[in-house]
Point group: C2
Chain length 245, copies 2
Amino acid sequence: MTPYARRGVHGQTVEALAHRILGGEIPEGATLDLVALQGELDVSLTALRESLKVLAAKGMVDARQKRGTFVRARADWHLLDADVLRWQFEGGRTTEADRSLLRDLAEVRVTIEPAAVRLAAERRTDADLVALAAALEAMGQHDAGPAHAVEADLTFHRALLAATHNELLERMEMVIESGLAHRDRIVHSSPHSRDPVPAHRTVLDAVRDGDPSAAEAAMRALLDQAGRDLERIHGTDDTKGTGGT
Amino acid sequence: MTPYARRGVHGQTVEALAHRILGGEIPEGATLDLVALQGELDVSLTALRESLKVLAAKGMVDARQKRGTFVRARADWHLLDADVLRWQFEGGRTTEADRSLLRDLAEVRVTIEPAAVRLAAERRTDADLVALAAALEAMGQHDAGPAHAVEADLTFHRALLAATHNELLERMEMVIESGLAHRDRIVHSSPHSRDPVPAHRTVLDAVRDGDPSAAEAAMRALLDQAGRDLERIHGTDDTKGTGGT
DNA sequence: CTGTCAATATTTATTACTAATTTAGGAGAA
DNA sequence: TTCTCCTAAATTAGTAATAAATATTGACAG
């Protein structure tokens, strides 16, 4: 499920270290005291090193002989990595950096998704359409619980990216997913939520018709509406609002 | 420099494994015979495990008890990771998958960069403008060698992403970089290459003026021209062509 | 002042062993 | 038969101690 093995002591060690670094507890450029951490986290040196290897693979730390193991500059973090993205949200309560990340996330969505639907409209196969229709269907089942609806929403957007038949764009799923997940944390399943299905159906129709411009317009409308809804909730701190992307 | 520690025996092991998997030598879903690999690569079991940890962090393998360590489905690979991207090109000669990846890369650029310059035009600081101007300056020095020109080109586009002040978009650099690097391998520094500076200057001017629409248009023109040039070279296999993005 | 060489400290890699876990498969019950 | 639970084997996960490699530092010679 998760990209790296999250099982066992090792996984916990990775998470603990990641949270410390992403939370700023261990600042950029700091050299880690391996022995101290070893005792602190209660793991062996080998386990600690394997954990650091995972973080190194994500550009967060670098271990060099003599100089020691140190935290790399934030500019080197693989912020597009699914784990790094998740850790940032898990880390702490809503901070300033958190808010900034959220803005960035939204901007990426607005960048990627309209372009993606254009390609999807041009390349979608019948199988893609089936997947999209199924996701839309699932979104319509309001009685299956809020978690179900969110999952269906995500599935729809994932299917959309898959329909581009561009492997790289498909991987942007991680970003879209993070954005959606957090959005959901704010807009926690209000009973008065606006029905997200119609807007999504408009997108699907355009994709089915192979009309890139209409698809893009529909997607922009969808994102724009979601953004305004979110803003409204944020501003008034009122729990009524949107129910979907 | 590289995200994971590439030094020593360990780095080599990671690369070797990565190439085997990305090259299809070890197919998706295959379970790895750790002991066999250990002897084959001539490393200890621990070192092998640490290498696999790096690959696990990039979504390429998963190690589960009893079931063994196996190659994950390609859909799980972190294709947006700089290393994974690089390994794919390093792996083998120009294959069909390679060509497909190249197309995907180009599409991502066309998606990201026009949107990025819009943001850059709105948010660029004076420092950003200085960096952009410096990169443009460097591009103009035709006598400094082809490698220098390519590096300057890259620097320009990197500075552009930085000017968006969106950390996530900034990380897309990896993708842009891969695209540029490979483009360069095809368009190997023709002496008759078209001067890339004017098109880039148009972009810079629009960004300086804070005109998002003009900036986007200029970037689209730039990408479009580069794409057509590349296509022409590809089609006619003629070495004359573009000299910049 | 500069470059080479060696001392030194610290990480990386090896070896060998133990522990934890998970799934396959069988036993027994419904 | 089929489902559940339990046992057992297989394999990764983790520990610890040691050896090797390598980068930094300082000293010394050119």
